[in-house]
Every structure is written in C-alpha cells, then in structure tokens.
Symmetry: C6
Subunit: 268 residues, 6 copies
C-alpha cells in the first residue's frame, strides 16, 4: 500500500520494534514533514496493529482523550475517547505534536507509561490494564519549542526517544518521483534547491522546507507549473513574507532550477 511505504533512514524501524517488544512508549522527534507520521503508519502495517491518531492542540482535554459521559435517550452513558479505544483494542496510539497538548491532559498518560501500563478512568470509575500489543507513540518537533511550551523533563524520561531526520538526497528524489510522477532530473533539482535552503536555515531562522512541500511542488510541476512557479508557491512563499529574505531565497532557489526560458538550470 503506497501511502504506508517508508524508507528507513537510520535505525528507527529497529528501535521501534524493540520498544514494541519491550512494551515501552516511544517519542519521535524531528523537523516538520520529515516522515514521522508515515513511520508510525508503516509500523502499524509491519506489526499488524491498528494506528489511532490524535492531533494534539491547546484545547485537548483529558476527556477528549479518555472519553466522557453523554446523554442518550434521557440516560447518561460513557463514550470511550480515542486513547481508551486504543488501550482496549491493543492498538498503537499516535499522539502527533504532543507538546501542543495542555499539560494537564497528559497526566492521564502517567500510569500508562510506567510499570503499571494501566489507564485509570477516574470519572467512569474504571481501571483498564493495557494489553501487550498496546503501544503509545508521541511526536514533537524540538526546533519548535516556544519558551512557554516545553514537555516536562519527567514526562520526556518516560519515553524511548528516537530522532528522525530528512532523507538523504537520492532517497528524497526517489520519493518525489514515486509520489508525483515527475522525472528524476526534475526531482533531483528540487531536492538540491531544498537542501540549499535548509543549509541557509542558520542564517534565516525559519522552519526549513519539508519533504512534504517538495512532494507538493512536484505535483504542481506534474500539472504544468514551471519549476520556478512551483518552488515559489510551495517552497518559498510559506517560508517568509519579509521582502528581503524572500528575494534572497528566490535567488538561492533559482540557481538550482530549470530556467523556463533557456530550459537550462544555472547550477547543474
């Protein structure tokens, strides 16, 4: 199944399997769009377990995780939340961008992430031991931490932490070809262009372009956009609206791309 295709970059698949075997929770770190979600979906296939995904945000309450009482036909019945479902079904529960969640919501994870492996539903008065196949996986982007929102050290220490990074250039170009039906030379030019911007990251301090935006750019090219147009609207425009930075980046990008008028890339 194409969507769940994932190419191991370092040892993240091995470590994921070990954590699953030892029934310890896993934390994936790395830049936006480097493939953390795809790794989890891939491992769901490999391990033969369902993946239940929760996109974390500021307003996620513990009730959104574990469930709540709801009125039906005049009566009040308990309705499981996605975390409770994952525990009951022994699924992989994937909490995306966990640092965004309200920290108090994370307290319900304590008893699931130490030797107890148990979910306490205080409001329902229930105690659910996690089956061996249940696994909690969280992700966050450390480059992203605002001073206001950091995971507490004691929370981080509950997880095996695996860092995910960008793909090497040849693998990333391969992904573009697979996903967007463009030719390999075009894909290679897009990756070179992206890497030149990623390397300029220390100077400009923005979130560097992800594999995901390159896939989108490749798709726009497949629909007829020029390489410059596609790079402009998919890679450059989301980075910065500051005029000086934008034109610096545009120059950097143009050096690697096919000039639609001469049909040559300047730096190839």
């Amino acid at each position: 199944m194409k969507n769940n295709y994932y190419h191991e970059n370092k040892n993240e698949i091995t470590l994921f399997k070990m954590a699953a075997e030892q029934r310890v929770p896993l934390m994936l770190t790395g830049p936006t769009g480097c493939g953390k979600t795809r790794l989890v979906e891939h491992m769901g296939d490999v391990l033969g377990r369902e993946v239940i995904t929760i996109s974390c945000h500021d307003d996620l309450t513990s009730s959104d995780l574990v469930g709540r009482f709801m009125v039906t036909g005049g009566d009040v019945i308990w309705s499981d939340g996605p975390l409770t479902k994952a525990v009951k079904e022994g699924a992989i529960c994937y909490m995306d961008e966990v640092v965004e969640a309200r920290h108090d919501s994370l307290a319900v994870l304590h008893s699931l992430t130490d030797h107890r492996r148990t979910l306490y539903l205080d409001r329902a008065g229930e105690t659910i031991p996690a089956p061996d196949t249940f696994m909690l996986v969280c992700s966050y982007n450390p480059a992203y931490r605002s001073s206001l929102k950091e995971l507490k050290p004691s929370f981080r220490q509950r997880f095996v932490t695996v860092a995910i990074d960008y793909l090497p250039a040849d693998r990333e170009a391969e992904v573009l070809v697979n996903e967007a039906d463009i030719s390999l030379p075009v894909a290679e030019r897009l990756v070179k262009c992206a890497n030149s911007i990623r390397n300029a990251d220390d100077v400009f301090h923005f979130e560097p372009p992800s594999t995901r935006v390159l896939v989108t750019a490749a798709k726009m090219i497949a629909s007829g956009a020029s390489e410059l147009e596609a790079t402009e609207v998919c890679v450059l425009a989301p980075l910065s609206s500051d005029g000086a930075i934008a034109s610096g980046l545009a120059e950097l990008a143009a050096a690697h791309l096919l000039d639609p008028e001469t049909n040559n890339s300047n730096n190839n």
Copy 2:
C-alpha cells in the same frame, strides 16, 4: 452572474486549477478587499463546485468546524459543521482570515491537508475520507499579523501559497464602472486618488484603501454625493482619526478629485 465575475491579475486562476487537480490545499494572501473572496466564488463557478465559506474568528472552536451533538426530542444526534459538510459534499471549503482562528481549532485540518485527506471526527467516532472534489482554501492578510497571532510555519507549509494583489489601475476603474454605474472619468479619478494614498502607506502605516471601499465611494457618488464627500466618508474617515494624518490625506485626495465648485479636478 455578475457577483462572481473575476478578472485574473497574474496567474492565480491557473494555480488554483492546478491545486484543485492535484488535490492540495490552497492559501491566498494579500491586502484586505483585493478580491480573495471573489476569486474563490469565481473558481467555484469555473470548477462547478459549491463554496462553503467560514469567517474565522477568535472564538471559533473545532466543534464549530466539524459539528456537535445536539439534543432533539430527548435524544442526542450529531449535527455536521460546515467543514464536515464540505468534506461530505466534495465542496470547496473557504476559511476566510484563517489567522484569526484559535490555533487549536486548526488541528482538525492536519489530516485533511496531508497525504491522508481524511477528516477524523473524534467525538462522533467517525472517519471521513475526502472525495477528490473536496478542496480546502484559506486566506490571510500578512500585513496584518500581530506578534501574538501568526500561522505556525508547519501549518503554512501544508498549503500552496498564492499572493493576490490590487488590480492594475485600468482594471480597477472598470470594476467601479461595472459595480456602481458611474462614468469612467469619475472612476479613474477615484483610482488615482486611492493609488496616491496606497503609495503613502509606507509613511503613514495604515491599512491602504481596498477596491471594496472604492466601490462604496462610487455608489455614494451614484446617489448624489460629490467626489470629495464620498472620498471623505468611504476612503479617508475609516483610515485614521488622528487629525494631522487625516488632513494630510484629505489634501492628497483632493488633488485628484473633481472640485464641486470649479467642476475641475486639480490634477487631471
């Protein structure tokens, strides 16, 4: 249908079509009233899809987007929100001024804006894959960003970003004639007047007058107001209540408009 008339300024219609074809989400940026809403309505006509518009604001919850349970006849039934309706019907969902929304509300968009193209209704326990015709379009005005409210880089990278700008002078005058039934010379004087204020923007730091306010001024003129009166109440008064700035702008404006006493414009 007159309301959905839209004149392409650069390549925004082409890029919109490509994004629709590739099923990737679109972000429109540009100053207030430059025609972003009209472009979306026009493309709904062109692509033959319904447009469902959501005006974003500080208090927009994810329930307002996806729906909520409601009590009817003693029972609780799920009621779809506008985003869920748009996904189910394969419509264009247009989120106007998305930067105004509470960022946690935007988390429900994550799975719709990457390779999954799926809406998860956690509270209803439902998963809705988006049909190919579903398209998410957002807009925001980058000149407007307060330091407190910015779209997260990882969110911006989920979109193809197309910048919309003011119309060229002749096209803008044409719009005024079409919408308000005034003569072309009057329309041209109003546009000149607006452009002189827009160029003074760097000095005065206010939101420059939009095509929309020129249309309103033109309508007031059509109802009998003098050009100076209409410009005063539609263009100048909303800009600033600071006396010094106001009289500077009034002078600037008067230079381009018909003096009702001499029936001559000074600068024509």
Copy 3:
C-alpha cells in the same frame, strides 16, 4: 413624536439616506451623548423602518447576535437573536458602541457588510439574504479608544463613516428648552458653561460634557435646583474626582451661571 426629533447639524441625514439607498452599512462616530442614538431613531421614522438596537459590550457573543438553540418541552428549537430578526424583517440594526463588542462576535457581520449582504447561521445551517430595506448602522466614540480595543482597519473599511459633533450653541439651548421646560436664558447659560469646559478639554483630558448631561441639569433646575447645584451634580461631579481639577472646573462653570445670592451671572 418628540423623542425622535433630530436637528441636522451638517450633512448626516443626507449621507444616511444615500447609504440606505445604496444598501451599504454606516458607521457613526463622535463624542458621547452628541445624538448618535437620536439620529438613528429619527432616520427610522424618516425611512419608515423599525430600529432594533443592540448595546455592545465585552461579553456579547455571536449567539447573542444571531440566536441560539433553546430547550422547550424537551425539544430544541432555534430562537432568533436581534441581528437575525433585523435581517429577516428588513429593519435598521443599530449596534451602539460597537468597539466594545468582542471582535470575534463581529465576524458574523462580514458577509452582511460586503457584496454578499447575507447572514450565515452556521449553527442553524441557514443562509438568509438581507432584503433591500435591511441596514446595519454602528457607532463608536474614537476619543475613547483604549490601546487594547480598536476596530480592525479591515472592519472599519466596510462602512461609510459619518462623524457627528456637538450641536451649535443656539441649537443646543433650544434642545434644553424643549426637553426640560426651562427658560431660554437659563439654557443659554448652561450651554456657555458646557462649552467653556469642552474647550478646556485639551488641558484636562476628560470626556467633555454631552448634550445629555445638560438636559439632565436643566431638568434638575426645573425641579428647583439652583444653576450651580445642577451644574455641580450633573456636569462637574461626573467629570473628575481629583480635587484640584474639580475646583478649577467649578470656577470655570461659576463664571457663566446665575449666582443664586446676587441673582446675576458673572459673565453675562
């Protein structure tokens, strides 16, 4: 009907009629108590339309404007808010002190104040096109803006903006005579007194006394208070509780009023 009597000061009645004819929204600006509410009530009579008034405040939700679901006999039925009523009935909806409203509540006004002239009731799933007689009128006092609460420029640009100012002295005296049954010389002394305080405004930085407080002072005089007593409790006491300023203002006032002991005004 006496209450809705209004005397045009500049061209505000003409501009109001033009805006009504062109179906564009109107913003009235000016100091407290200068007659904005009366102008709207007067125009309701002139145009033969109902006026529905909404006093804006910090806690006004969009549900308070458009309506909400309510439980009746076990069922949930929709109940229109005052804005929805005004749209359905083609009335003038007057939002007093709109700058006080929570800005997110104002987002529901967007589609009513541009070319769409349509109210979207997201929660009720209804779309209501405004009839031609519907008109939105807002007011605010620009001298009043705290740094925390300003109308957004893009919001201000949606309105024709008409500034209302104090009445000229003879007209204001006439209003006092009409409303409070006092003699013209007394009314003239009260207005002179008020204008001397209004001119001192730049020095003292307080909200200057409105026509409304003069009417109240005139009524107290009609009940037997001396001019000094009435001015003290109606005009001066609400201005400032700072001792030095208060006695400065009292001196200023006394110079224009009838001294109850000598029965002469000092400055007449």
Copy 4:
C-alpha cells in the same frame, strides 16, 4: 423604624427627591460606611417605594441582573432578575459598589438611563418601559478606584452625582449613642479618636475608619470592653498589619480615649 433613620448632612435628600421627580438616575459617591445604603433605605420610606438592593461584584453577569431561562418540569421558563423585578414593580433599584461589576454587565443599563427608560431583555425577546416610579441608584467609593477598574466617563455622565461625606462630629456621636446605648462622653471620645485617624489618612494611605466601625466599637464597649480594647479590635486592627504604622495609630488613638487604669482620657 430605627434602621432607616437618616440625618441629612448637606442637601442629599433634596437632590434625591429632585432626581426621583425628574426620573433621572442617581450616583452616590463617598467613603466606605458613611451612610449611602442608609440614605437609599430612608428615601425608599420617604418616597413610599420598595428598595431592591444588588451588591455588585466581579462575577455579576447581565443574566444575574435581568434574569435567565430555567428548566422546570422539562420546560424552560423565564425567571426575572432583581433589575427586571425593580423595573416591573416601579421600585428603587440600588446597585451597591457599581464599580465592582463587570462593565459588560452594565451595558443593559444604557437604555434605562437615557431618554428611553426602557429595559431590553434580548434573550427573552421582551421590551419593558420603566414606570415613572422606577429609579436607578448606584453607589461607589472614588477613593477606592484601582487603575484597573474605573467607571467609564460615558457611564458616569448618565447619572446625577451626589457626594456623601462623614457626619459632623456631634451628629456622629449622636448616632453612636442611638445605635449602641453608650454614654455621650464615650461616644464623643470615639469620634475624636476616629477623626484624628481620618486626618492622618494623607500620611498613612489607608481607608479611614467609617461610622460603621465606630458603631461596632461602641457596641463592644456596651458589652464590657474597655475603650482601648474596643478601638483596637474594631478601628485599628482592620486598618493595617504593618507593625510601625499599627503602633503609630495606637498612640494616636490612646491620646483620645479613657485610660482604663487612671479612668482619665489623656487628651480631654
């Protein structure tokens, strides 16, 4: 009826009657415990109208003032709040310490305090014109204003403002004798003691002792406490817990009171 006994200090009873006659709202200002509440209760007796008192606080919503819908037997019925009751019954509505109220709650008072004299119940969809006997009276203590909480100038201008001050010494002593059954010389010493502290107010910056605390001290003396004891626990202890200030005040107080050992007051 003893509780509603009130001795006019300046012209506050006359002004209250005039405001009632002219149907304009009244604002009473003055230090804590100087008798504002008693004046209102007294005037209720004089004018033969019921007084409905609302103690304002940070959490007073407009629903607490006007009423709310409540579920009874499965149905929802409207229940009037104290303001609505006062309007319907033509009573005096007394809002104590109005500056403490959330300002948005005060917006419902706008239409009651200008020429409209009408209460709009937006949520109930009802409009109630106030009968002639309805009167709104508010109070606040200007010495008390924190920078965060001030009445808006436009709100203050809606009221006839009458300042209430401490009673003259002989009248205050008379009140103590009446209320607490102590002898006149004891009462006179308590008042002298209080006035010496009130005069030290500028140096120490605390809320000066009110007539109310003197009444309490007098009652403690009537129960057997010495003058020094009663002054300590009723007058001095509530003023300050700063050691240096406390002993300074104690010395000041002792100078005016009967020394229980010598049976002489030092300063008599």
Copy 5:
C-alpha cells in the same frame, strides 16, 4: 470533649463572647496552626451553637456558599449551601482562610455583616433575616498576603478583628503532652527548638513552625522516632528545600534536642 479543648492566650474568648452578644462578625488573624480553628470549635461548645466550617479557596463561587438549583426527577429544586444553612439554623459559620476566596464570592456577605443581617438569595428570589444566634467568623493569616490577594479595607472594616498568637512555651508543652502522650521534658525540648526557629524567622523568611507540626512531631516520637528524626520530618523538612538554609536550621534544632547517641540534649 478533648478536641475542642482550648486555652485562652490573651482575651480572645472574652472578645468572641462580646461579638456574639452584639451580633457583629468576627475576624481572627494569626500565623498558621496557632489554634484559630480550635478556638471557633471551642466557642461553638461554649455558646451551644453548631459550627459550620467552609475552607475558602480560589474557586469558591457564591453558589458554593448560598446554594444552587439542582435537577431532580426532571424538576429543578433549590439546594441550600453551607452559608444559607448556617443562617437558617442560627449557627456559627466559620470561613477559614477567607483571603483565599474569590472576592466576588464575598459580596454575598455584605448584607449579613452590616445592620441588615440579612442574606439575599438573588437566584432563588428569597430574603433570609439572620436569627440572633447566627454569627459569621472568618480567619486569615496576614503574614501570608500576596500582593495579588488582599482583603479589601471596606471588607475588613465589617469585622471585629482579634489577633491570635502562639501559646506561651509552658502552655504549648502542655498541649503536646496532652495530645501525643509524650513526657513533659521531651515536649519542652520540642517547644524550645520551635521557638529558636520562630525567632530565626526574620532572617530566613519562612512560615514559622506551628503548634500543629509540634503535635505531629510529638506523635512520631510517641511511635518510636528519635527527637531529631521527628523534628527533621515534621518541623524542618516542610520549611525549606534550600540546602544552606536547611542545614542551618538543622544545627539550630539539634542544639535543643536529645542526641540519641549520648542521650543528652546539648542545650539543656
């Protein structure tokens, strides 16, 4: 009954009785654990009245004090809160640490603490005059005031204020013997140790150890702990986790206690 045993330190019992006789509210101030709660319980016994205790906190609403409507069998019935119960039954209502309460919650106390002695239940539409036996007693710890949370001067002036302090050394030792069954010499050493720390308070700025912690230490000794161990875990550990301060205090404490190895106290 042993629990309600209380030894008068100064004149607090007399003053409490006078306040009860005069039906005025009482405020008890003093350091943590010096016996304020016990005094109130003791006076309940002495006066033959029930004591209803309310522990105040940040989230205590006025509904928690006076009561609320509750749904039962489809209908809504009023349920009295502890303050309302105390008023109806003529009990002593003891509000512990009243400074912690939300100040808006305290507004319901106004009419109970002046000459009206009446509880207004706005939401229930009821007015309850307090019987003569009803008494309101509040407590707070003035050393504790954060700058954010202080009782308002006008609120403090509503109470007779009685300061409670630590017991004299011999009385405190007697309490330890009574409560924990330890020998008098051990009790005396614990009290000496506590007093040496209390005197060091000005240097170290912590909340000094209360009689309550000494009772707990005495109980630990009765269970077999050494004096040093008991002082460490009951007296010193809660004071500070700063290493330098902790060892300074430990030295101070050790000088007064029995050394378990030599069976001598160093400073005896």
Copy 6:
C-alpha cells in the same frame, strides 16, 4: 508480587509505618523516578490496605477528587470521586505530583489533614469521618518547582515529610537485573554511566536520569540494542536537545559503556 518489590534506602519504610500508626498524612519528596510510587504500592501491601492513586494536574477540580452529581434516568445521583472512595474504604490515597494540582482543589484536604480527619462534601451535604486506616500520601519533586507553582507553607506543614533519594549503585544495578533480565556487568555499567551524568547535573541543570530510564535502557539492551544505542535513546535524548550539551553528555556516557566494536568499555 514483583511490581511492589521495594528496597528501603534509608528509613522511609519505618517513617511511613509511624505516620500510618499516628494517622498523620505523609509527603514524599525526591527526584523523578526514584521510586516514590513503588514505595507507596509496597506499603499498601505491607499494611494490607488498598492504594488509590490520583495523578495531579492543572485541571484537577475538587469535584474530580470528591465526586459530583450525575444525571441517570432523569434523576441526579451523587457519584463518589477517588478521594471520597479512599476515605470511605479506609484506603491509602496517593496524590502523585500534588504540586501540579490547582491549589483551590487542595482546600478539600484541610479538614482531612488536621485533628478533624473529616471530609466535608459541601455539594452533597455530607460529612465523612475518616476511619483509622485511611491515610493520605502526597508526593512532589522539589527540584521542579517553578516560581509560579509552589505548595503553600501552611499546606506543607500539614504533612510528615520524607525525602526519597536515588538507590545506592549496587542496589540500583540489582533492580536493573531483576526488571530487565540483563547481566550484572551490563547493569553496573549503566548505573556508573547514570551516576556520572547525575554528578554533572550541577553544571548542566537538567533533570537527572531516573532509575526508571535505566530500566528502560536495560530492556532495550535485552531486546538487542547496543549499550550505546540504548543509552542514547533512553538516557541522553530525553535530557537535552541542545547540540553542545548533547555531545558532552554522549562523551561522558561512552566512557562507561561497552564499545560495540572493541567489546570493551573504556572506563572499566
């Protein structure tokens, strides 16, 4: 039962028993993962009492502790919270990380932690005396205190406070062998590695690695990870994402671990 195995480090078991005997509440302090939860579970076994655990967090209301009314079949019935259950059953109630709780929620503990040993359920109108076997145990990590969140001194003084520290090296290695089935030499190297990082704590200011993370590292090794790999993902990665610190720590760690290539540890 293996999970509740606990090795006494100092005198914490003895002190826990004494506190239980004397019916006084206990506070456990110490770094994350040093075994506080295990001690409580172990003592539950030793004393033959159930342990009811509550993970404290920012959003824990007093209703979450004591219970709430819930609608069932149209009626409202009271449902006990975990604290109420623990009191009724005479269990040990363990509040983990009590400093995280909203302080107002802690007010319900006051009457349980002094001589009253009584739980007041204000909303249910019930009073529950705690049986002798009920014991309240709280924990917090003092190294962790933010300036915003500290336990109040008066709250800390209600507890016997016992500090828990890391196990001595040989005991900690023994735990690793027991929990993860690794050989003793490997366990000893992991503990040495952890202790070198714990000693570097003063320089780096991070939360030092707990016994819990060593157990996890040991499990990863048991699943086939090298010592360096396991230390990287379990011990080092959660500590810091700062590049310089991370490589300093990695060097420190490597010095104690088996080099997978030479099969020798450098520092053994």
